[in-house]
């Protein structure tokens, strides 16, 4: 049993038809660490975290969460593991048929079988933690701005005090100031809970703010993995090109006709 690592991916492959997305991903995430996965669009960042959550099944390879193999696990067992995780989706993915507090409390009511009144109390507490007033609790998702939706999504992700949290492009579509606010919230929420987090993004300011370690995904492989402190002198031309946002370099954008 491995207690040092929260998540270990070993030689994970995943293809959709002929398109190979993950081509032997090896990635270790230590407990309590904040890992950020960077990489261009379509390099398999989302597929990587969907594999860890059991939303997609890898074609081959092994993924362990808390030392437990999750590839090939039954739906019911996977639900138990997911009960210990939270996720902030790119578009927040709030349930539009439920109001804000019901959204935040969803995992507590449906997953952990809490009473509605108790769950509501926790939901309002979590909303406060992400800087939203209790008045927001009775509104519906379509009444909120993009930044507020992200905050609600964050509150929902942390509502059940998960040990492992995923953030899928948390700052995409937000203005720079709101991005910074969300980054700060992510940082503080994760350190309050003492959770492990895996973030995918291509926003470099986010990386510098959130990350302890950074992994870069390119053509289905992890090509660099190290501390965020070393990212500026990684000595890796791919990483250099990406973090400085240059069009020319070893990474050539594939333009399909």
């Amino acid at each position: 049993m491995d207690t040092l690592y929260k998540v270990r991916m070993t030689d994970v492959h995943k293809a959709f038809g002929k398109k190979v997305v993950l081509d032997g991903v090896n990635l270790d995430v230590k407990k309590g660490e904040s890992l950020v996965i960077i990489g261009g669009s379509g390099t398999g960042k989302s597929v990587t975290i969907k594999c860890i959550q059991g939303l997609l099944t890898p074609d081959s390879g092994s993924i362990t969460v808390d030392g437990r193999e999750i590839v090939g696990l039954s739906e019911r067992e996977m639900e138990k593991i997911n009960a210990q995780t939270g996720m902030l989706f790119q578009g927040a993915a709030l349930f539009d048929s439920l109001n804000i507090w019901e959204n935040v409390a969803f995992g507590l009511i449906q997953g952990k079988k809490l009473k509605r009144a108790d769950a509501k109390e926790i939901a309002i507490e979590k909303l406060k933690q992400v800087g939203l007033s209790p008045d927001v609790a009775v509104l519906y998702p379509d009444e909120l701005s993009g930044g507020m939706k992200k905050r609600v999504g964050l509150a929902r992700a942390i509502a059940s005090n998960p040990e492992l949290i995923f953030f899928d492009e948390p700052t995409t579509g937000l203005d720079p100031i709101m991005s910074d606010v969300i980054n700060d919230l992510i940082r503080s929420c994760v350190s309050d809970l003492g959770s492990t987090s895996i973030t995918i993004t291509h926003d470099m300011s986010s990386v510098r703010k959130i990350a302890d370690t950074v992994a870069m995904l390119y053509k289905g492989k992890i090509i660099w993995h190290g501390s965020v402190k070393d990212i500026d002198d990684s000595g890796n031309p791919y990483v250099d090109q990406f973090i400085n946002g240059r069009a020319d370099g070893p990474i050539q954008m594939e333009i399909r006709g």
Binding site: Q53, E75, M87, F89, G91, Q110, G111
Partner: protein, 257 residues
């Protein structure tokens, strides 16, 4: 050789989608019998399908009953028998038109709405969000809808039968100057138990088809707004065709000698 490639491709695509639908059906049915059950969601869907479909079902069955009375009188008046019109109305409404009309209306109203709702939830990642909140989307979204369809469509058909026969009665009494009491007595004497329960069995099957295809198309929709639109169209067209085809075979099953 080139002629065979596209034919083969279409055939393989057909087998693929048939297999996927079969797996989806089995998964849905098996989840119907495994806890947790979401009774709140089931009640909501039963109201949506059973109660809110009443006006359209009432209107269509009523006019069906009216037109059958009128048509059978004009076609059969040489026999000059009031009893014939009453029995034709009773037979066609309870055995065929009641279930088929109600199912087609529910397909247009409820099947389309389910495909659009689940499709939107799919493309905005709300279905993935359910999984990450350790709630099984089959149990939470699909089972309540399919069960509500199977339970409520027979009820709708029973009500539709009464209203359809009432439509026939209206025409007979106010247009054809028949005796209303005789009409009802003829209907009652002619009616057999199998008329009613065959119609209600059909309704349960149609309810399953409509809700299952609505959920299936929504759950598997891809590619944004366009994909959701296609899912909605497919749900209505496929379920309408399947209703009419299975109606024939159910009639054969019940009445062929």
């Amino acid at each position: 050789m080139n002629i065979f490639a596209p034919v083969g491709r279409v055939f393989i695509a057909f087998l693929e989608s048939t297999g996927r639908l079969a797996r989806f059906t089995l998964k849905t049915v098996s989840h119907c019998f495994r806890p947790p059950f979401y009774f709140r969601a089931l009640a909501g869907q039963m109201i949506e399908i059973g109660f809110y479909s009443l006006p359209v079902v009432a209107l269509t069955t009523m006019f069906s009953g009216m037109v059958i009375a009128l048509q059978s009188y004009s076609g059969l008046s040489t026999l000059s028998s009031e009893g014939v019109v009453a029995s034709v109305v009773e037979l066609t409404i309870t055995r065929e038109l009641g279930p088929v009309m109600a199912a087609l209306m529910v397909a247009g109203r409820v099947g389309a709405a389910m495909a659009a709702e689940l499709g939107t939830m799919r493309v905005t990642e709300q279905i993935d969000a359910l999984t990450t909140l350790s709630t099984n989307p089959f149990k939470y979204l699909i089972v309540p809808r399919v069960l509500a369809g199977v339970l409520m469509l027979p009820v709708l058909v029973l009500i539709g039968d009464i209203i359809g026969i009432y439509g026939g009665w209206l025409i007979c009494v106010y247009k054809l100057d028949f005796n209303g009491t005789n009409f009802l007595r003829n209907v009652w004497n002619f009616m057999q138990a199998i008329d009613i329960y065959s119609g209600m069995t059909k309704a349960a099957v149609f309810g399953f088809i409509v809700t299952l295809l609505g959920c299936y198309n929504g759950y598997h929709s891809r590619g944004g707004a366009e994909g959701v639109g296609a899912a909605t169209t497919n749900a209505v067209v496929a379920s309408s065709i399947l209703i009419l085809i299975s109606n024939y075979w159910l009639t054969e099953l019940f009445f062929a000698k």
